[in-house]
């Protein structure tokens, strides 16, 4: 039996869902598969929570060989990994982690673009992770429709600040998840965009007891990658095991996320929160008023010689096949 050392890195702490499942699911599954032949055995060194890199540093850490395997948080890298924004630029389609994870992962494997982007960062793409079910709007005052957001200050982060361009006079205020409670409590903002599990973790019901269920959609944020030099030296048997388990991990994490999502909604209500379903017409109106950020995204990729438009169409097609049709066809324009 040959022993192979693997340093796994993430900047998030070991208690984060996807990190915990890497320890409790990914690693034992790989070990199990390798044990069937007994040719190879992994010697795992798990370095999380800033031991080697910070959350934004995983991509570079794997690139530079400070870690052999990493969980890259892709939303930090819109410039180096532009195609990873695919689900963030297509809101109002699928509030289902598993469906989005599978669709993005298949796009990554059927089109060369995502893998090429990681290749440039000296790493091999293994699988996509989705750890949030769907963005919703949380409010300090009763809210019945997106119209109640007009003129309001809304806390958000990343691409979802652009969703606010579809709401008249709404001002996006940037903040980290950990700041949202304070921002809402002090009245610095009246609304915030986040997902139910985060709302539960940060006790948002105490300060923003009204949730408008608009189902902005699940977003892919994590990708498991392997340093390319390390990968090239791995025996094929180990490569195959890693690839297979990565897909299992993708579905496993997305499944857990969905379980947690419904529990989190219940916890929000139990903590005194009220959930109002937005009407289909309201969702359509919001989507219609937004700039077509999906088309912008596809254009940017097209301009680089990548099949942006094709990827967008294929992605939306996959979600449709899985039973999720958006309120606006981002690819049709």
């Amino acid at each position: 039996t040959e022993t192979i050392k693997a340093v796994v890195i993430d900047g998030y702490p070991a208690r984060a869902l996807w990190v915990k499942e890497f320890s409790n699911f990914f690693i034992p599954e790989v070990d199990k598969i390798l044990a069937t032949t007994g040719n190879y055995q992994m010697d795992w060194q798990e370095s999380y929570g800033g031991a080697i890199v910070k959350p934004k540093g995983v991509l570079e850490g794997v690139k530079l060989g400070l870690g052999d395997i990493g969980i890259v948080t892709t939303i930090f890298h819109s410039s180096k990994l532009p195609s990873q924004s695919i689900s963030a630029v297509t809101p109002f389609i699928a509030p289902n982690s598993a469906a989005v994870a599978r669709a993005v992962d298949e796009i990554a494997k059927e089109f060369p673009t995502m893998q090429k982007e990681f290749e440039k960062q000296n790493q091999v793409y293994l699988a996509t992770g989705v750890v949030l079910d769907t963005y919703q709007v949380f409010s300090t005052t009763p809210i019945a429709s997106p119209n109640d957001m007009m003129g309001a200050k809304v806390a958000g982060a990343g691409m979802n600040l652009r969703y606010l361009e579809g709401i008249e006079n709404a001002a996006g205020v940037r903040g980290g998840l950990t700041d949202f409670y304070n921002m809402l409590q002090t009245g610095l903002v009246e609304k915030a965009i986040l997902w139910p599990e985060a709302a539960k973790t940060f006790k948002i019901a105490e300060v923003a007891p009204y949730m408008l269920s608009v189902d902005l959609g699940a977003v892919n944020t994590k990708t498991v990658t392997v340093n390319a030099d390390y990968w090239a030296k791995l025996p094929e048997e180990v490569q195959i095991a890693l690839r297979d388990v990565a897909v299992m991990y993708r579905d496993h994490v997305a499944g857990l996320t969905m379980d947690r999502a419904s529990a989190s909604r219940e916890a929000y209500v139990a903590a005194g929160g009220t959930i109002v379903e937005a009407s289909q017409a309201d969702r359509e109106a919001w989507a219609a008023a937004m700039p077509n950020i999906a088309a912008e995204w596809a254009e940017t990729l097209n301009a680089k010689g990548e099949p942006g438009t094709d990827m967008l169409q294929a992605y939306i097609g996959k979600l449709e096949a899985a039973g999720y049709t958006g309120v606006r066809d981002w690819a049709a324009e």
């Binding site: 180096k80 600040l161 205020v173």
Partner: protein
Amino acid sequence: MLILSSFRGPVAGLSRLGNGVAIGANVIGTLVVLGLVAIVNFDVVARGMFNAPFLGAVEVVQFSMVLIVFLQLPDVVRVNRLMRSDGFLVLIGGRYPRVASVMRRVIDAVSSVFMVLIAIAIWPEFTEMWETKDYFGVPGVFTAPWWPIKLVIFLSASLCTVIFLLKVLALTDKPDNVSVPEHKDAQ
């Protein structure tokens, strides 16, 4: 000492040049401090009173931090304010001034090697960012390019190397007492 004296001219000239550049960078870095105070206050007021937060505040603050630290670092080295505990050196210097002087020069030489390593490590990062035009931030919201950051770090490390080398070649055995204006306090 004979050999040293023939260096006197060039070393003094190089010294003036290196220190001059460090002081210049320091002035720019100092203005960035002022800019930082201004930009964060602007964001607070714009958000609180006019419902119009400045969405680039985070990137601008991150950018200014790099500018402040790396534009000022060479001057910090120049005026001997890089953190060290020199009790032992001072103690030795009292009895064996030559030993202390040699130790100081060795330390400065090691420091200049470390700075050169930083410069060498960061240069390819700069060329890569220059070619790919990579940015940070959220496209459509606010973005800032990476290359100036890498360039500033590279230039700063190079300048620190030079200034450490100048300390190695310094003609006096005792560390220069650089007068720092901020220390004659107007209390």
